[in-house]
Symmetry: C2
Subunit: 391 residues, 2 copies
């Protein structure tokens, strides 16, 4: 096990009508004037935004609204939020919606007290030294942003670059999680969220660090539950228990409890980012295409790990005389699960094109000049090969 620090100070309010507690939570964390940041019409139509705003007003907290965040949230909206937040002198920002609204809120929060361009954090290696406190009212279990220190922003004006940035200043001080808010989510979006959560665990699970039994087993527990409950939620959108398991599972998958003390990979996320940046596909759908291809490509390197995954998560019978067959069967069952919940697993289904592969591989952000990821460090040629396996 590697040395680590772990700090997950977010206060979680979980359950029915949890959003009515937003005002009390904002007050507890010192807010006097809050920006409510959200996406399109859904949180207005459902009445959620009004309920959240009312609970803030009930506590004597002023509010400013800024909507219009799009999926794969964009830098232009972040700039708009920074300007508005400074002008209105807000002291907290609450994202109301899915991961996009919350990620955009986090980027605004870190941008407001910063003298330079917030994009420095995402693309220039600048480290944040402060941020406004961020709150979260989540309507989509997927990105784990409700408990994580990380975000992803796309800068259309800067060559459509899609970049991640994380800082403990950006971790929400509170997150409001009501499973009922997800009853209206269509199966496709639900499934995209499921894949994203599983991927957050897998990026940590694919590790070369020895002696990590605790996080291995907890990771397997979380993936198995997300698969079981995900199957239900896709078929029965208003199944409270399935929605609740996914909502809490998505948080646990990404607040780094499952990643402490171990090397992590994260190359599949970097590879996928180019698919959603270029073709505008949902992140989860892109991951459904990339992950099985990545697993097949790294099978030889990770044979024992994939066999363990197959046995413990997908109940493939242990066969120590033939670990490769066990591992391959696990990947096959994982792919079958993705298909079952309606996810694409090929380039064609995404609308991605074979001839774009060299361009896509070139765009992927690497950890060093020559390599991507830490499980089996990949070259540009390897990334191309993974894209080809996804054809």
């Amino acid at each position: 096990m590697l040395d680590f620090t772990f700090h997950s100070p977010t206060f979680f309010e979980f359950g029915r009508n949890a959003e009515d507690q937003t005002g009390k939570l904002a007050k507890r964390f010192g807010a006097k004037k809050v920006m409510l940041h959200y996406g399109q019409q859904s949180v207005i139509k459902s009445g959620l935004l009004d309920r959240v705003e009312k609970s803030l007003h009930d506590e004597g907290i002023e509010t400013v609204r800024l909507g219009g965040v799009v999926p794969n949230p964009e830098a232009s909206k972040v700039y708009e939020g920074i300007e508005l937040g400074r002008k209105e002198n807000i002291d907290m920002i609450i994202g109301v919606g899915g991961g996009s609204a919350v990620d955009s809120a986090k980027a605004i929060a870190v941008g407001i007290p910063y003298d330079g361009d917030f994009w420095d954090f995402y693309d220039k290696g600048q480290r944040a030294e402060a941020a406004l406190p961020v709150g979260c009212v989540l309507t989509l279990a997927a990105t784990g942003t409700e408990g994580s220190d990380s975000t992803v922003i796309t800068n259309v004006e800067d060559d459509r670059k899609k970049r991640g940035y994380g800082s403990h200043f950006m971790r929400p001080v509170f997150s409001v999680l009501n499973p009922e808010l997800q009853f209206t989510l269509p199966p496709y979006q639900t499934a995209c969220g499921i894949v994203d959560m599983i991927a957050h665990v897998l990026e940590r699970y694919l590790s070369n660090t020895p002696d990590v039994e605790l996080t291995d087993r907890m990771s397997e527990a979380v993936i198995k539950t997300i698969i079981n409950q995900g199957r239900i939620a896709v078929k029965e959108p208003d199944n409270y228990e399935a929605r609740a398991a996914l909502l809490w599972g998505g948080m646990v998958a990404h607040n780094n409890l499952l990643g402490v003390g171990r090397e992590q990979d994260w190359s599949s996320h970097q590879i996928e980012h180019e698919l959603s940046a270029i073709y505008g596909v949902a992140h989860g759908a892109g991951l459904a295409v990339v992950f099985p291809a990545f697993m097949t490509f790294t099978l030889e390197h990770g044979l024992e790990r994939y066999a363990q995954f197959a046995h413990r998560v997908f109940d493939v019978e242990a066969d120590f005389m033939n670990p490769r067959a066990v591992a391959e069967e696990g990947i096959r069952r994982f792919k079958a699960f993705l298909t079952e919940i309606g996810m694409p697993t090929t380039f064609a289904e995404l609308g991605a094109k074979e001839e774009d592969i060299p361009m896509l591989a070139k765009r992927v952000k690497f950890n060093t000049e020559d390599t991507l990821g830490f499980f089996q460090p990949l070259s540009r040629k390897d990334v191309e090969a993974i894209f080809r396996l996804a054809l």
Copy 2:
């Protein structure tokens, strides 16, 4: 799943030489003058207390020492700490040692700003409204106090009452966890810690709440790891990886991540408290005697749950034609594990006496006038029966 809130804001510094970070952490959380609170000679002899103190002095933080905490920490020391802390005007208290030192530190922290008698919190239902910030440098993986909001104090002057109290004000702001500090722990104390950790998970696992797959599976993952790594640590006290797994596992077992959204039992803890209060045995050793007896007594009520436990934790083959046999075999294997790591499983081994049973049962603190626990609510007669099963 039940509605819940979850807040685990402790900053964890985990790994080799982690104690050298104590000063930086205390500074980060605002300390200017710290009380170092500890037990007997071991933290002095090992040099740990000096190293911790030096790291505080290096950050310009003043220190006051108060040692002498005993296992099953006592109210008299808490009173002493409150008086000293007020006199010295400390603004943080750091427990250095095992669960006893940290629990005592937490009780002092909550007692200092309180006008009345701190024992009101433990025995009179009073709720705390403030506490000094608490830090923790842990030398024994067991009680989970490093990440929990709870404590147990024994009041020798008040009929040897052993009482628990929890408040979010008492949760450590930081905890320093270095597995190496546990290399000198003898097998018996290590084993007591192992039982305590497993019990913390089991008290939550024994629940009637339906639809808790996520916490069920994570709990099974944690218990299984503690068993596997516990076997190693008892045999090889300086096995870093086994110590590390236990140290982090003990935190996860008790910061309530595994208890959210579900009813919890906690009757075995209440029953055990009387054994350690009356006979002065280690809490873990008492739990090793109580838990199998409790399981046997509640077998009928919890047949499916015990069968699941047997299958998933102890690899008993699933046999749906005979779940009772599966459940019983699980309890048998659990007991065999306790014996293997050197724990007592009978009254006699503890030095407890059959003729004391009515007195012990009468002393146990009940949730209501008539019942104890929430899994299978117990009467006084039931508690007596459980003690008899432990003979």
